[in-house]
C-alpha cells in the first residue's frame, strides 16, 4: 500500500492546459475519486499517475519516491480501463496471468494466484474461456482480477462502470468497494457520475476545466460545497446572487435581487469568502431543503410554479423566483400538487442557506 502525492502538477498539450496545479495527497489505503464532467482533466491526471503521460511541470510521489517520469511498467500499479482492455487473443486465465508471467513467477504459483484472483471476483473456472465468450460485467471483473493479481501498491480505475447497464453497475460498484476494503489497497477512481462517487469514495476531488474545485469527503462536498460549480454539480443546488445587508452575531442577513430578505448562518459560509455589508455573495439552496410555507416568521419566498412533476414519494418543482429558478423537492405529506402558473409560498430553514464563492477559473489565476 502506498500513498500518492501530486505536487503542483501541470499538464499542457501545446497551448492548452489540461491540468493546472493539481496538488494533493492521497493517503495509504484511501479510496480517492476524481470527479468531474468530461474534459475536466480527471483522466489526464490518472494517466500521469499511471505513467502513460508525463506532467509538464510538477512531481508525482509514491511513498516519498519520485515517480514523475518513471516508465509505466516500473510503477507497480494495477489499472482497470474504461473498456477493460482485455487481450482478445488470450484466454481469461492468460489475461490474468500476464502480469505474473512478466514478473517471472513460477508456473505453479501463477496457476494458484490466477485461480485465487478469479475466485475473488467470483469467476472461478473461467480460466479457459475466450474474452468474447463472456459478458460485459464478467469482462469487467476479469479486468479487475488482472489488475489485482499482481498485488499492486495502487489500483487505478478509469470509469470502470460506464459500459455496464444500471443494475450491473450497482452490484459491481459494491463489489469493487468490498475488494478495496478487503485488500486495503490505495485506490484512485475516475468517474463523471456524482452519485457513484458519493457512494464509493472516502474522499472526492472535484475538477472542472483542469482545475481542482474541492477535495473532501462525500458529506463535505455535498453539504458544504466550496463554490457554485461544486454546488450545482453535486447537490443540485439552486444558486442566487444576493447582497449582504448586515452581519449580526452568528447570522447573515441578505437581500435577493427582487428585495426578498433571507437569513442564514455565518457558519454556513465558506471560509475564504468576504463577509461585509453591501458585498455580493452567492446563496445556494438544495432542493430537499425547500419546505412548504407554514406561517414561519422568516425566510418566506413567494414563487410561481414553472414546472411540476409528481414522483410518488415527492413532488419536484421548478419555481420562478424573481426570474431565477429555484428547484424544490417537497416530500408528499398530502399536499395538493400545484400546477404550472399557480403561486406557491415556500420556506427555507435558516440552517439550509449556504454562502459560496464563484467557481475557480483560469482567468483568476
Amino acid at each position: 500500500m502506498a500513498d500518492v502525492i501530486l505536487e503542483h502538477v501541470n499538464k499542457k498539450f501545446g497551448k492548452f492546459t489540461a491540468v493546472q496545479d493539481a496538488d494533493f495527497h492521497i493517503k495509504s489505503g484511501e479510496f480517492f475519486t476524481f470527479l468531474g464532467p468530461s474534459g475536466c482533466g480527471k483522466t489526464t491526471t490518472l494517466r500521469m499517475v499511471a505513467g502513460f503521460s508525463y506532467p509538464s511541470e510538477g512531481r508525482i510521489l509514491f511513498d516519498q519516491r519520485d515517480v514523475t517520469t518513471l516508465a509505466p511498467n516500473k510503477r507497480d500499479i494495477g489499472m482497470v480501463f474504461q473498456n477493460y482492455a482485455l487481450f482478445p487473443h488470450m484466454t481469461i486465465g492468460e489475461n490474468v496471468a500476464f502480469g505474473l508471467k512478466i514478473r517471472k513467477i513460477n508456473k505453479q504459483d501463477i496457476k494458484k494466484r490466477v485461480a485465487r484472483a478469479l475466485d475473488l471476483v467470483h469467476l472461478s473456472g473461467y480460466e479457459n474461456r475466450k474474452v468474447h465468450e463472456i459478458s460485459g460485467g464478467q469482462q469487467q471483473r476479469v479486468a479487475l482480477a488482472r489488475a489485482l493479481v499482481i498485488e499492486p501498491k495502487i489500483l487505478l480505475l478509469d470509469e470502470p462502470l460506464s459500459n455496464l447497464d444500471a443494475k450491473l453497475r450497482d452490484d459491481t460498484r459494491s463489489e469493487i468497494k468490498r475488494l478495496q476494503m478487503e485488500l486495503g489497497i490505495t485506490t484512485i477512481y475516475v468517474t463523471h457520475d456524482q452519485s457513484e462517487a458519493m457512494a464509493i469514495s472516502d474522499r472526492i476531488l472535484i475538477m472542472k476545466n483542469g482545475i481542482m474545485q474541492q477535495i473532501g469527503t462525500p458529506y463535505e462536498v455535498y453539504a458544504k460545497p466550496k463554490n457554485s460549480f461544486v454546488g450545482e454539480f453535486i447537490g443540485k443546488h439552486s444558486i442566487f446572487i444576493a447582497y449582504i445587508e448586515k452581519i449580526e452575531n452568528d447570522k447573515i442577513y441578505i437581500k435577493l435581487k427582487d428585495g426578498t430578505s433571507l437569513v442564514g448562518l455565518k457558519e454556513n459560509a465558506v471560509s475564504d469568502i468576504q463577509l461585509k455589508p453591501t458585498k455580493e455573495v452567492l446563496v445556494a439552496i438544495r432542493p430537499e431543503c425547500v419546505e412548504p410555507y407554514l406561517n414561519q416568521e422568516i425566510n418566506r419566498l413567494d414563487t410561481k410554479v414553472i414546472h411540476s412533476e409528481f414522483t410518488g414519494m415527492s413532488a419536484n418543482y421548478q419555481l420562478d423566483l424573481a426570474g431565477d429558478t429555484l428547484k424544490a423537492t417537497i416530500i408528499n405529506q398530502g399536499e395538493v400538487l400545484k400546477k404550472k402558473g399557480e403561486s406557491l409560498a415556500v420556506h427555507i430553514p435558516v440552517k439550509s442557506l449556504y454562502f459560496l464563492n464563484k467557481e475557480v477559473n483560469h482567468e483568476e489565476r
Binding site: 503542483h8 511541470e57 519520485d66 517520469t69 516508465a71 510503477r75 482485455l86 512478466i102
Partner: protein, 573 residues
C-alpha cells in the same frame, strides 16, 4: 530531482519520452520514403528538364509540339479512354449493384458470387483472354461465322473499343463493390421517412437514394479514371500505341530516356492531381447510417415470366464473367502452334502443365515471381508495421507527410514507377548504397515494394486502428516493457489484418506486369513477362498454362486473405 526556488519543477523526461527521440526511430522510415518514392520521382522530374546536361525546356517543347502530334494525341487518347472507361464501368457496376441489392430473384446469389471474378484476373491474362475470345480471330466471332455460315466474322473487338471493353470487364468492380456496400448499409428508414413526407418513389430515388450514393460514385469514378490513365496492358494487347503509358515504354525502348521522363512527369502530375482530389473527397465519402434500423428489404420478383427472364439473364451474365477464365484454361491444354484458323484449338495436351514444374526453363519465371514477390512483401510488411505503429500510436510532427508520401505510389502508373526507378538507380546513389541496381535482380523486388507499399500500409494501418490502444497500456501497466508488450500484445492483435494485407500485396506481385516489363533482366523474368514472351512467339498453350497458374494462385491467396480478415474481425470484438 532538484527543486528550484519556485514550488514548480519542470519535468525532465526519460530519453524515450523526449520529443526528439521519436525522430530517431522515424529516420529509417523517412530514408526509405525519400529514397524509393521521392528521389526516383525527383530524378524523373529533373531529367525531363535537362538535355545533354543543360537545363532546357526542349523536351516539353517537343512534347507539346504541333508538328509531331504524337504526344498530344497520346495524352488525348489516354484521357478519352479514361473518361469512356469511367462511364462504361459506372453504368455496368452501378446497374449490377442495384439489381443485386434491390431485387430478390432466382440466381441472385450465384450471380453475386461470380460478380467479383474479374478481380482474380491478373491484368495481362485478362486482356489476352479477351483477345482470344472476341478478337478478329477470336472464338466468338469465328464461332458465329461458322454457325451462321457467314462470309466474314460478324464483329470483333479492336482498337480503343477493345481497350474500353477490357477496362469495363476488369474495373467495373470498383463501382460495383462500393455502390452495393452503400446500398446495403444505407438507412432504409431515410427512404421511408421521405415516402412518409409525401415524396413519390421517383422523387425518393432522385432526392434521397442517389444523393446518398453520390460520394461512392464520385470516389469510384476518380479511381477508375486513375487506373485507366495508368493502364498499359490493354492498350498493348490492342495495339493502341498512342496512349501516354505506351509512349513512355516506347521512348524508353528507343533509348530516349529524356522523353520518357517528360512523358512520365506529365502522367505523374495528372495522376497525383487525381490522388489529391480523391483524398480531399474521402473525408465526406459515406453517409453511414446513424440508426440501426431494419435491414434494407429487397423487392421480390414475383411474376413467372420475369423470374424466367431473370434466370436466363443471370446465366448469360455468369457465362460472360466466366468465359475469359474458361478460355484461358481451354487454351492452356492446346498444343502450341496447332491452333490457326479453327474456332477452337484442335489438339490438346497436358504437357504444358508438366513442363511448368519439371522444365527448369519454364519453372524459372514461376520461381522468380514467387521469390521477388516474397522479398517485396516481406519488406512491405516490416516497413508497413513500423509506419502504421508510429502513425497510429505515437505523436510526432510530420505524420501527415508520411501518410501522404506513402500513398503516392498508389497513384503512380506502373510505367512511371519503372521509369523513375531506372532514372534513379542506373547510376550509383546513396539510396542504392553506391551501387547500380538497374539491370540487376533487385530492381524488380524494389519496384514491387514501391508499388505495393500503399496497399500493405493501408491494411496494416487499418489493423492497428481497429485494435484497442488501451490493451498496450494495460500490458505496460502490468509491468511489460515496450518490446514485450509489442511482441506479445500489439502484434498478435494485428497479425490477422497484416497477414491479409500482405497476401494481397503478394498476389499483386504474382500478377505484376507493367513495371516488370520495363525492368526485367534475362535472369529475373517474372511470370507475366514470360506469358507475354510466349504469346509473342505464339506458344499460346504455355502462356495460358502460366496464366492458369497465376489465376489459381491468386484465387487461393485471396480466399485465405478473406478468411484471415474475417477471423481478425471476430477476435477484435
Amino acid at each position: 530531482m532538484k527543486k528550484d526556488n519556485s514550488s514548480f519543477s519542470v519535468t525532465k523526461l526519460p530519453i524515450s519520452a523526449r520529443p526528439w527521440f521519436i525522430y530517431i526511430i522515424l529516420a529509417p522510415i523517412f530514408f526509405i520514403l525519400l529514397g524509393y518514392v521521392v528521389y526516383p520521382l525527383y530524378r524523373v522530374f529533373i531529367d525531363s528538364f535537362y538535355v545533354d546536361g543543360k537545363f532546357s525546356l526542349e523536351l516539353y517543347k517537343r512534347f507539346f509540339s504541333l508538328s509531331s502530334m504524337t504526344n498530344i494525341q497520346a495524352t488525348w487518347n489516354s484521357l478519352y479512354i479514361s473518361v469512356l472507361s469511367v462511364i462504361s464501368c459506372g453504368i455496368v457496376g452501378t446497374a449490377l449493384a442495384f439489381l443485386l441489392e434491390s431485387y430478390e430473384f432466382p440466381g441472385r446469389k450465384v450471380l453475386k458470387a461470380f460478380a467479383v471474378i474479374p478481380m482474380a484476373l491478373p491484368s495481362l491474362i485478362g486482356a489476352i483472354s479477351f483477345d482470344f475470345l472476341y478478337g478478329s480471330t477470336g472464338i466468338i466471332p469465328r464461332g458465329l461465322k461458322e454457325i451462321f455460315g457467314l462470309a466474314n466474322v460478324p464483329f470483333y473487338l479492336k482498337g480503343i473499343a477493345g481497350v474500353i471493353v477490357v477496362h469495363t470487364f476488369t474495373m467495373y468492380t470498383y463501382f460495383y463493390l462500393p455502390i452495393s456496400a452503400a446500398l446495403r448499409n444505407r438507412d432504409s428508414s431515410l427512404e421511408e421517412a421521405a415516402l412518409n413526407l409525401g415524396a413519390s418513389k421517383g422523387q425518393v430515388f432522385r432526392r434521397v437514394t442517389l444523393p446518398m450514393l453520390t460520394p461512392s460514385l464520385i470516389a469510384a469514378s476518380l479511381l477508375v479514371f486513375m487506373i485507366s490513365m495508368a493502364s498499359y496492358t490493354a492498350p498493348l494487347i490492342y495495339g493502341i500505341d498512342r496512349t501516354l503509358t505506351m509512349q513512355i515504354v516506347l521512348s524508353r525502348t528507343n533509348g530516349d530516356l529524356g522523353m520518357a521522363s517528360t512523358q512520365s512527369t506529365i502522367l505523374t502530375v495528372i495522376s497525383v492531381a487525381f490522388l489529391i482530389i480523391m483524398r480531399l473527397y474521402e473525408g465526406k465519402r459515406n453517409y453511414a447510417s446513424v440508426s440501426k434500423g431494419a435491414a434494407v428489404h429487397r423487392k421480390e420478383v414475383k411474376s413467372q415470366f420475369k423470374k424466367t427472364l431473370a434466370i436466363v439473364a443471370s446465366i448469360i451474365v455468369v457465362i460472360i464473367l466466366l468465359l475469359p477464365i474458361l478460355t484461358i484454361i481451354l487454351i492452356s491444354f492446346s498444343e502450341d502452334g496447332t491452333w490457326t484458323y479453327q474456332v477452337l484449338p484442335p489438339k490438346y495436351t497436358i504437357t504444358h502443365y508438366v513442363e511448368l514444374f519439371t522444365n527448369a526453363k519454364t519453372w524459372r519465371p514461376i520461381k522468380n515471381s514467387l521469390i521477388m514477390s516474397l522479398i517485396a512483401t516481406t519488406g512491405n510488411v516490416i516497413f508497413g508495421v513500423m509506419v502504421a505503429y508510429a502513425v497510429n500510436r505515437v505523436k510526432f510532427k510530420g505524420k501527415g507527410i508520411i501518410d501522404k508520401l506513402i500513398m503516392v505510389p498508389w497513384a503512380l502508373p506502373g510505367t512511371v514507377v519503372g521509369i523513375s526507378l531506372i532514372a534513379a538507380f542506373n547510376v550509383p546513389s546513396v539510396f542504392s548504397f553506391g551501387k547500380v541496381i538497374v539491370a540487376t535482380f533487385w530492381i524488380i523486388p524494389l519496384a514491387y515494394f514501391v508499388r505495393h507499399l500503399p496497399l500493405i500500409y493501408r491494411s496494416t494501418y487499418a489493423a492497428f486502428s481497429q485494435t484497442d490502444t488501451s490493451c498496450e497500456e494495460a500490458a505496460r501497466g502490468l509491468g511489460a516493457n515496450w518490446w514485450y508488450s509489442f511482441c506479445r500484445v500489439v502484434l498478435p492483435m494485428v497479425a490477422g489484418g497484416i497477414a491479409s494485407g500482405a497476401i494481397l500485396g503478394f498476389v499483386q506481385g504474382i500478377g505484376e506486369f507493367v513495371a516488370s516489363i520495363l525492368l526485367y533482366t534475362p535472369r529475373s523474368v517474372p511470370i507475366s513477362v514470360a506469358i507475354y514472351q510466349k504469346m509473342y512467339s505464339f506458344n499460346f498453350g504455355t502462356a495460358c498454362a502460366y496464366g492458369v497458374l497465376q489465376i489459381v494462385l491468386v484465387a487461393i491467396l485471396l480466399l485465405i486473405s478473406e478468411k484471415l480478415k474475417g477471423d481478425s474481425k471476430i477476435s477484435a470484438i
